[in-house]
Symmetry: C2
């Protein structure tokens, strides 16, 4: 597909929170957008770092044993492989995520917030 | 390093065009920002896709055998592996790039625009 991706337009096309939608792929990675509000779940990814870039709002990434990282628009953070973390947003927040395809959003934690990989 | 990255702040810290600066790493990938103005060089990457997200300005990605892709802020495009392309910006344009570490900015073309990998 030789189409560009407009992130705002993709984000306007769905409403659910904590349900990442894949908008592009790069090699064996998925590029996704997600809407967050409230607290996610503590989890870690033993096999991969975890990329977050905030597009709108404010994301607090709680890190086990470290100070929280608070991201506003245009700010990114990469959670190191194996580090337990829990994202939280007090207001509706939009985030660009990049991870290897097949990575579960809830990592080792599983549970009801685990989302299927969905492309929009 | 448990530091977030503010992209605007990183971009304020240098002036050169077509000289990507690495701001973070994710697994074996580099995440870089670049300032562009003018035309780059036709090239391709035989081993990797090439991720572009425009942060400011307007980037025209010329693609051999395909229509140009024109990106504004908040728009991204992944150039497929092996596809010859040439980015061009008429105004100063800021871009987030993601590629495997070690990928040359000029791909197979080489030449004087080839930049060293520099982290800021």
């Amino acid at each position: 597909m030789m189409n560009k991706v407009n992130l705002e337009s993709k984000l306007r096309s769905f409403d659910e929170f904590f349900s990442p939608k894949i908008v592009a792929r790069m090699n064996d990675y998925k590029i996704a957008v997600v809407k967050t509000k409230g607290e996610f779940v503590w989890h870690k990814h033993d096999d991969t770092d975890d990329f977050f870039l905030v597009l709108k709002g404010r994301l607090r990434i709680q890190l086990r044993g470290n100070e929280d990282i608070v991201l506003g628009p245009g700010e990114l953070f990469v959670v190191p492989k194996g580090m337990e973390h829990c994202p939280r947003a007090d207001e509706e927040t939009h985030v660009l995520l990049i991870e290897p395809a097949g990575t579960l959003n809830t990592g080792d934690a599983g549970g009801e917030l685990t989302a299927l990989e969905e492309t929009i």
